[in-house]
Amino acid sequence: MSEDDDRSPSPNSITDDSSQTRTYTTGSGPGPGPGSSSVLEYLAPCPDQVLENVLENVLWFLTSRKDRNAASLVCRSWYRVEALTRSDLFIGNCYAVSPKRATSRFTRIRSVTLKGRPRFADFNLMPPNWGAHLAPWVSAMALTYPWLEKVHLKRMSVTDDDLALLAESFSGFKELVLVCCDGFGTSGLAIVASRCRQLKVLDLIESEVSDDDVDWISYFPDTGTCLESLIFDCVECPIDFDALERLVANSPSLKKLRLNRHVSMGQLHRLMVQAPRLTHLGTGSFSPSEDVAQEHLKPIISNCHKLQIFWVLDSICDEGLQAVAATCKELRELRVFPFEAREDIEGPVSEVGLQAVSEGCRKLQSILYFCQRMTNAAVVAMSKNCPDLVVFRLCIMGRHRPDHVTGEPMDEGFGAIVMNCKKLTRLAVSGLLTDRAFAYIGKYGKIVRTLSVAFAGDSDMGLKYVLEGCPRLQKLEIRDSPFGDAALLSGLHHYYNMRFLWMSACNLSNQGCQQIAQALPRLVVEVIKHEDNLDMDENVDTLYMYRSLEGPRDDVPRFVSIL
């Protein structure tokens, strides 16, 4: 999902929507009111009306969220017209604004993107049932957006009932994308498949889908579908292959297909024969017995000169990465995932692979790299060789691990990244890091928007450097780092400009968090306790805070207190 800078309207600019007074740009007397219909008005519309019509016609073409937000702040007239012409609604935090407020302001929405839980919830750092329910949203939208076509959700809790309501309410529904969602099962999918006759896209990505023993694939209409993209590699349940084969045969527009691991290679071949127009194909399976052995990868990779996006397991080893570096000169995005996500093993990739990639793939924009050992030198090299880096996420899996050659902290490496990569907006750090690393980030990371910190830093100064130095910071997630109340307080000037701050297993106290809550009334300050530790002691397990127009939410589970 695109990560445009979403300056959702600051609390001051959302005024009472019910007042529909118009703004007059000239000094002439009041024009006809909205309800009047004199012939004179029809023949000679007042200049303001002309202006609004023109504006409306122009603003239809404005697609960038950032530009639209800016346009809406010019004056009330522009605010209203912008609201009428916006068709894509993006809500980066489902609790920042209520469904009612959003649907009242924007009445002609065709596409909705909603994000719920914070990212660290993916790693079991948050108890289940925290929130982010789709239900109130789909209810509101069912009433106000009959022409809704697209729903994109990330980290939301979606039930089968929600999917049923969605399928019933939007006759022209075309696209459903669920990323890291949960709460629904194959019965919900069956309803969507059977009722959404205009469905073009059904993408289930890294979501948890419960097995209700329903053969949902067979619920797609036999007469044919408009499907262009079908992704379900995360659906763990077996499927009826014959039904899938029929579906593919009946879907002449199908271009993207990603299956789950219950489809064998032989079956995959049969499908490919049925769907020659496929541009994207995935098996979604990493079965160790069938995987591509390292010696097979090299000859394949050495032919992929145009490869731009490559996601791979670290079982390809440094050597495999060297092969990638030698061939894939157009590579923009690389992700190297750990085959074994543990701390105490040798690890097949290291600074050698990173160095090679930095030398070979000069156009690299985004990298996610899991490894067991790293050196500052390799990270510095990447900072110099890949100036286009926008996303740099390095995960040295051993906590507090220094440069394994020099024994030094990894401060200099990450420092070089923020210093040299002028386009960097997303950074994830790891390894042994002192406050110095954060000083670098605060000093040079002027356009960093997303920062992820774990097991790092020495003192409050670390966090202070970042909060005081990074004016564009929007999303900050920190775990297991020694930052306390004083550091938290140093960010008061900035929290309204952020989407959220997450701090777990740090040195925060209830008192410190309370101070924040009192100083910033439009901030929702959630203290989340682990379920087995519900006593109210002074230490805060997890702080999750975010700006919101609505105040404390009404669906708070018992392990959350809102200060």
Binding site: F120, E236, E343, F370, A454
Partner: protein, 220 residues
């Protein structure tokens, strides 16, 4: 596995040492276990750590306590010193459960039991140790009255009286096509190399003389 006095597992508590010594596990005596975040020792996990034989308590007879604990201590002392049992830190490394599950894949292998008319399949990824696998096999084939000779610790694992039981020896075919005894290699290595399993009748187990790795030197 917490001591009954409820003391913190992190403390090497003198009072609980004697209790711990009689706990039936293969850890080193006096070593603290449980959910502590223990300093990593680096390097690969030792074999003993992968042979996670919790010999259990309920079924074993009290009089055998000392024997088993003594035996396990002897075994342990003969083994190379294993790294401390590592507890996982929650959510670290930050790999989504979905991806972890995809990674482990399903390692289904066929299990043939001599004399049984059908084959079964097990997913080796579902287990973390030889003991767990053997327990599962016992459950799976429980209708046939047998015991599996457990060469890991030279003693049979039974789930019912031995009277009418036929003893089986678990063997597996590895990547190279050789038939091997279970227990010789660390668990993870076994999972990767095992192509299929067979429970062979003990009586036919000629040429499969129980191997005695230097670790398991105690005789039956």
């Amino acid at each position: 596995m917490s001591p009954e006095d409820g003391s913190n597992l992190l403390e090497s508590d003198a009072a609980s040492v004697s209790f711990k010594e009689t706990e039936l596990t293969l850890g080193l005596p006096g070593e603290s276990r449980g959910l502590a975040l223990i300093e990593k020792t680096g390097g690969k996990r030792g074999f003993s750590e992968t042979v996670d034989l919790n010999l259990g308590r309920s079924s074993t007879v009290d009089s055998d306590h000392k024997k088993y604990s003594g035996e396990s201590e002897t075994d342990v002392q003969n083994m190379a010193k294993p790294p401390a049992a590592k507890a996982q830190v929650v959510g670290w490394p930050p790999v989504r459960a979905y991806r972890k599950n995809a990674m482990k894949g399903c390692k289904y292998v066929k299990v043939a039991v001599d004399g049984a008319p059908y084959l079964r399949k097990v997913d080796l990824e579902m287990y973390n140790s030889y003991q767990q696998l053997l327990n599962a096999l016992q459950d799976m084939f429980s209708c046939s009255n047998f015991t599996i000779r457990n060469y890991l610790n030279e003693r049979a694992v039974t789930n019912q009286e031995v009277n009418n039981g036929v003893e089986y020896v678990p063997i597996y075919e590895d990547k190279d096509g050789d038939w091997m005894m279970l227990g010789d290699v660390p668990w993870k290595m076994f999972v990767e190399s095992c192509k299929r399993l067979r429970l062979m009748k003990s009586s036919e187990a000629i040429g499969f003389a129980p191997r005695t790795p230097s670790k398991c030197s105690s005789s039956n």
